[in-house]
């Protein structure tokens, strides 16, 4: 069962860049070893936290988009929980939402076409009529 998940996590702001690189690469290897694929890694950079977490006011946000099964998420979350500099993490399943959005997009495009189609020939007809007249 392949599903797409979004894994957002916050690491402490005083973490060295190289350590973060290391953490991300270990997560990536963990993903590939459990049979998933990493779709994208986005570093959102340092951000102010809305409330203090472990006495930190800031945090470095990282967004990981992963494709795989539930076991993969279980493993990733376990790793994040164990990793000390990770302040918080959140996993959200996004494939159903993406599907829904695509569906809506399709419907909208179809509606646009149907609404545009009768209008266009009518205009064209009007023009030709004007030309012939």
């Amino acid at each position: 069962m392949n599903r797409t998940y979004e894994l957002m996590f916050i690491v402490r702001p005083d973490m060295v860049e190289e350590d973060l690189d290391k953490l991300i690469s270990t997560l990536e290897t963990a993903v590939s070893s459990t049979g998933g694929t990493v779709k994208s890694v986005e570093r959102m950079g340092k951000r102010r936290l809305a409330y203090t977490v472990r006495r930190f006011h800031d945090g470095v946000y990282v967004l990981l988009t992963v494709e795989g099964g539930g076991g993969l998420i279980h493993e990733l979350e376990r790793r994040l929980r164990v990793t000390e500099p990770v302040l918080k993490f959140l996993t959200v399943r996004i494939d159903d939402e993406q599907k829904r959005l695509e569906k809506i997009k399709k419907i909208r495009e179809a509606r646009k076409k149907t609404s545009a189609a009768p209008a266009a020939p009518a205009e064209g007809g009007g023009e030709t009529a004007a030309v012939t007249a």
Binding site: L49, A50, Y51, K88, L90, E97
Partner: protein
Amino acid sequence: MAEETRATTAPAESPAPAEGHGQRPGPRGPRPGGGPGGPREGGRKYFRRKKVCKFCVEKIESINYKDVRLLAQFVAESGKIVPRRLTGVCTPHQRRLSSAIKQARNIALLPFAGRAN
């Protein structure tokens, strides 16, 4: 009908202050707007614009927890989710909105209580 409207609007403007000296101005005050004018204009003293769902009007389909700017519009200063009856958001969108706000709270993008500092 036309005479009636003239009759009600005219005394409201001119003789009301004159009567106000003799009688109490209190009961006279709200009447011109609320009493006779109200039922004709739809039963309400002030005309209130109908609230519309922002997400339906602007066709915003994806309510994502990462979009803090969008979500912050529907969070009160105290950190509470603003109810539908105040914002006018339709039920399906409010459902998604509230879950997105809750996700954003969990990842410290929005505060649980109080203002984000």
